[in-house]
Amino acid sequence: MIEVLRAGLLTSVQDLGRKGYRMSGVCTSGALDTLALHIANRLVGNMPEAAGLEVTAGPVHLHFTQTTRVALSGADFNATLDDHPVHAWWSFPVEAGQTLRLHTPKIGMRAYLAIHGGIDVAPMLGSRSTDLKAGFGGLNGRALKDGDLLPLGATRSSIRTSHALQMPAFGIKAPGWHRFEHRNLREENKTSLCGTPGTSVRVLRGPEYSHFTAAAHEHFWSEPWLITTNSNRMGYRLAGPELTRTKNLELLSHAVLPGTIQVPGNGQPIVLMHDAQTTGGYAKIGVVIQADLWRLAQARLASNLYFTECTITDARTAYADLQRYLTQIEFAIDQQYQGYAQSTKAPA
């Protein structure tokens, strides 16, 4: 069991999302940075789809009533375990009675905590993710509160529990959030809005791209977009030059998906995230490619976002690269555990 001593601003139980119910109006929910949760789960020997915690803003204090193994990933929240620093993208054993504290992130927005065996809340419609808007899934369909108790240990593991409890701490190198090049941008542009470097994501033209003016196209690809503080798990509301349309057609409701960049009447884009509604009627100027959604999830409020155009071929290659990266990381983690298993078997 984990006792939540301090729940922080927005901490929720999430897995890799709810699939197959979009036609019923049920959104995906799930970790916004799926890469981070996937890897954190593997770091503690879980299957990738086990439920963990998504921490959006600290401080979060968690008290463990049982011995287990945890991993932190995503943004580095300067965590401590009983006052000893522990790193992000590390996997380490925790003893009953210890307290893990996540403070505030230096960069990035969201931290993920995976626990050996996962968080044992009841799956709803095939997922343990919290649907905060509809109020189901996760722990009672809501964000965590001080005093909550989280049951542990329902999901299948890929390693023996004794190894998970005993193996010393180890970690991996964090994937680079800002490594992606701002190909079309002048260096000085990057810091023009808020003084901190921005995040760049690759974007495909949306179905209504041609409804916008040439000036709107120019602004869309070249200007920095401020991620306003009026952003959440449903969507990032951006501020920048007004995107004007040449055609002002009333659109009938269509499916929308995480990454969709829609432009309402005020000309200020909104990038939809995993908790967004499943259908929408606003013009869709672009779609952030799937391989960059996790990068978007770590883009901080009040920082700049840049859009770089790419092709469907680029998007598929990036997606394949991401899958290959995950396979390599999983292999490396498995090697760690196997090495440990063999070393404990060897005669003294």
Partner: protein, 220 residues
């Protein structure tokens, strides 16, 4: 019926869309296509919209051109003579605190309150698609006389089960949410329950009839 446009939406979805306005005949074809596409192994999700259908797939596992061809074929061969869906009755408590905007709708439509209730309950609606909220149904068939513009300022929170009119549409809010529709009544029917299979009361193709609930069913 015009052949629909098929175009990519991101790297993992294809949209099949007919020109507006949405008609029931056209929508029936999309339901038939949706039923077919749901059986294809490379399709992970389908989402019918108003006059359109989106299919989702794994960008590495599916071949987009093949999928587009399959969609085009499914449109040509779709059976739009589907037998009518289930008839679902939704009892509504009209007016009072359950429907605070009923008088406003009367004012706008120049119809009496009795006439509005009569017209709202004497129509058989069709569920075109679900979206916006879990279990929220886009209904076709509102009497054009009842069309009333949305409120200038949306309410911050509308109670679950609220029945409203927004422009030329009518529907039920399954969960409490912000909203700008004119509220004419409320139902105790549960439009979404994650513990139920299927979780939604209504499915695309179902027919809906609103009935007058006894005034005592909702505590005011």
């Amino acid at each position: 019926m015009d052949f629909p446009r098929i175009f990519p939406f991101g790297e993992g979805a294809l949209v099949c869309e007919s020109p507006a306005p949405a008609t029931l005949a056209c929508q029936k074809r999309f339901w038939a296509m949706a039923a077919a596409a749901q059986q294809w192994p490379q399709v992970t999700e389908i989402v019918p919209g108003m006059n359109n259908l989106t299919v989702f797939f794994d960008p590495l596992a599916a071949d987009v051109d093949t999928l587009a061809k399959m969609l085009a074929k499914a449109w040509r061969t779709a059976d739009d003579n589907l037998k009518p869906g289930r008839l679902v009755e939704i009892p509504v408590c009209y007016g009072g605190q359950s429907g605070p905007d009923l008088a406003k709708v009367a004012q706008h439509t120049k119809l009496s309150i009795e006439e509005i209730i009569k017209r709202h309950t004497h129509t058989e609606y069709t569920v075109f698609c679900l979206g916006f909220q879990p279990g929220f149904a886009y209904l076709g068939g509102l009497d054009p006389k009842l069309a009333t513009p949305r409120r200038a300022e949306p309410r911050v929170a509308i109670p679950a089960g609220s029945v409203g009119i927004g422009g030329a549409q009518t529907g039920v809010y399954p969960a409490s949410s912000p909203g700008g529709w004119q509220l004419i009544g409320r139902t105790e029917a549960k439009l979404f329950d994650p513990m139920r299979t299927p979780p939604t009361l209504l499915q695309p193709g179902d027919r809906v009839r609103f009935t007058i609930a006894s005034q005592t069913t909702i505590t005011l």
